[in-house]
């Protein structure tokens, strides 16, 4: 019997090297005494998690959400609001982040997924903006100005996140877990259905798939992973504000996914890296660095189909 050839997930050595570098980075940074770069790497990895979660719906299932940063906000507020009431239990905060993000995705998804194309794009955008304005209007939690979080999530003293290196390794662990999860999902039975629905939804229904519930499930999973990124972000920055879910943040996530190459496993992480690199390097040189970022995005939109992730992966789109 002939078997489908398992397609190679990518260039293993590059991935291996990247993980190795990330594992050793804290030691090198400590040796060079440049703690700033630890922060840069953490931010990069958190955004890579968020972008990977967006890629799950955007790249693999063809749902262009322009409101994905709302889940970062939900995850971050799941740290900040309990902290406001002196509740630092890490498991509780994590459960709130995942549960809150999942619930929001479920409720809005029920409406968003009934629509197609441009409507879907604008509705995801509108729902995210709704949360943004809602948090702006809640004076109790700082409104526009946000909240300072005075202590990070607490895991009964077993794993102390106040130590930045510990937080770093937690973030790295979450990133690797996210990538593994996305890889397994897109190649699973479930992944086949969502990719099939992206390719030809009408056909999927004609062969007997109730695609709506699969797409909705995918939408919820994606939201929850992004909620995890938000939980990390809240711990990392120690500060939350509605600005985290402003729609331009969602635009940046989309930019990362497309820069890296939608529908490729490592693309979003690469896109996040490029984004953070530009921000870190260009912002040193000029306060007008957004101009160059904007021009880059316009050029990528026109000429850079598939983004940079293709370098790291053969068989883009069919992992």
């Amino acid at each position: 019997m002939r078997q489908l050839v398992q397609k190679p997930p990518g260039r293993y050595w590059l991935v291996f090297a990247a993980v190795l570098v990330l594992l050793l980075a804290p030691a090198a940074i400590a040796y060079l005494d440049q703690p700033f770069y630890l922060d840069v790497l953490m931010r990069l990895m958190i955004l890579a998690i968020a972008a990977s979660s967006l890629n799950l719906i955007l790249g693999y299932s063809g749902m262009i959400s322009l409101g994905h940063s709302v889940y970062i906000g939900i995850g971050a507020y799941a740290v900040g609001i309990p902290a406001y009431y002196d509740q630092y239990n890490g498991l509780l905060q994590l459960a709130l982040a995942l549960g809150g993000a999942g619930l929001f995705a479920l409720v809005t998804g029920l409406i968003c997924l009934r629509t197609r194309g441009a409507y879907f794009i604008m509705i995801t955008l509108a729902f995210a903006q709704m949360m943004y304005f809602t948090f702006v209007s809640i004076e109790e939690y700082g409104g526009d100005d946000g909240l300072v979080i005075y202590a990070r999530s607490d895991f009964a003293g077993l794993y102390d996140l106040e130590n930045n290196v510990r937080l770093y390794y937690l973030v790295l662990g979450c990133l690797l877990l996210t990538l593994l999860l996305v890889h397994r999902i897109v190649n699973s039975h479930f992944g086949m259905v969502i990719r099939g629905a992206k390719s030809n939804d009408r056909r999927m229904q004609a062969v007997g798939f109730p695609t709506f519930r699969y797409r909705l499930t995918c939408y919820v999973i994606s939201g929850m992973i992004c909620g995890l990124a938000g939980w990390l972000m809240g711990n990392f920055t120690g500060f939350i504000s509605p600005e985290m879910m402003d729609w331009t943040r969602s635009g940046e996530l989309i930019a990362m996914v497309i820069l890296g190459g939608p529908g490729s496993l490592f693309g979003p992480a690469i896109g996040a890296a490029v984004f953070i690199l530009m921000e870190t390097v260009l912002a040193e040189v000029t306060i007008y660095w957004h101009l160059y970022l904007g021009l880059l995005l316009i050029l990528v939109a026109k000429f850079g189909r598939g983004g940079l992730g293709g370098l790291f992966q053969r068989n883009r789109g069919t992992p």
């Binding site: 086949m192 990719r195 004609a206």
Partner: protein
């Protein structure tokens, strides 16, 4: 005889006041090939869409294997054993031929809320897909990207996708459209091989195909059925001649 496999009674559908299907009634038994013919715009594709569930009927009823499916969504009908091919090829162009067929089998192999094990390790899907490809003569190219296959191969692939789920009823919307003579002959052979254990509802413009395999023929004109009968009866029918066959058998194609 038992209750028919498919029973359509007085099915109607309007589009902005124009009756695309008007009180269509027909029956189809297991093992029977029932062809729908008629000039362009007669409502044949509307009928297929109504049966498949992409369109909802304004009135009338559809019974399939003794169950009323008139208001059932597309996927639920497919789950109950109603498979179709499309007039305009509808496949998954980014996937291999094997994956296209495996997708169809997967739809009938329980739910797919299975998130971890790679689908490629599911031997049942892979083997079933290969068998279906073999049935239509595409077993030699399972890894070929469906988007890169020829038109004729697309028609066969669609047929394989429909067969792979072992449906009770096949809705075939012009399976021979755009095929060359040899490909058409091959398609007719495939359809002949299928008829024992299934019902086939065939919409087709190619009268050679229709008269070669149909047990019963229904003629539609302007959304109405004007005649139903054996191929011989239809050939002799005055109304049909006037309305349709009279102006050249192959006109409609």
């Amino acid at each position: 005889m038992n209750a028919p496999l498919l029973e359509v009674s007085t099915l109607s559908r309007n589009f902005g006041g124009i009756a695309a299907a008007s009180e269509v009634s027909l029956e189809l038994a297991r093992g029977e090939v029932h062809a729908i013919i008629g000039p362009n715009g007669a409502g044949k594709t509307t009928l297929v869409s109504l049966l498949a569930g992409e369109l909802r009927a304004d009135s009338g009823a559809i019974r399939f294997r003794g169950e009323t499916i008139t208001n059932m969504p597309v996927h639920a009908r497919a789950q109950r054993g109603l498979a179709r091919t499309f007039q305009i090829t509808s496949i998954f162009p980014e996937f291999s031929a094997l994956e296209n067929v495996a997708m169809a089998i997967q739809a009938h192999a329980g739910h797919s809320f299975r998130f971890w094990r790679p689908v490629t390790q599911n031997a049942i899907l892979q083997q079933g897909a290969l068998n279906a490809l073999e049935q239509v003569g595409l077993a030699g190219i399972p890894e070929r990207n469906a988007g890169e296959m020829s038109h004729g191969e697309h028609r066969l692939l669609e047929m394989a996708m429909a067969l792979a789920t072992q449906p009770a009823l096949l809705l075939l919307d012009e399976p021979a459209a755009g095929l060359g003579p040899e490909e058409t002959t091959a398609m007719v052979a495939i359809l002949r091989g299928l008829r024992q254990d299934k019902g086939i509802l065939l919409v087709e413009h190619d009268m050679d195909v229709v008269f070669a395999i149909a047990d019963r023929i229904t003629v539609m004109v302007s959304g109405r059925t004007i005649a139903t009968g054996s191929p011989e009866e239809i050939r002799e029918d005055e109304n049909v001649r006037k309305a349709y066959l009279g102006d050249g058998v192959d006109e409609g194609a």
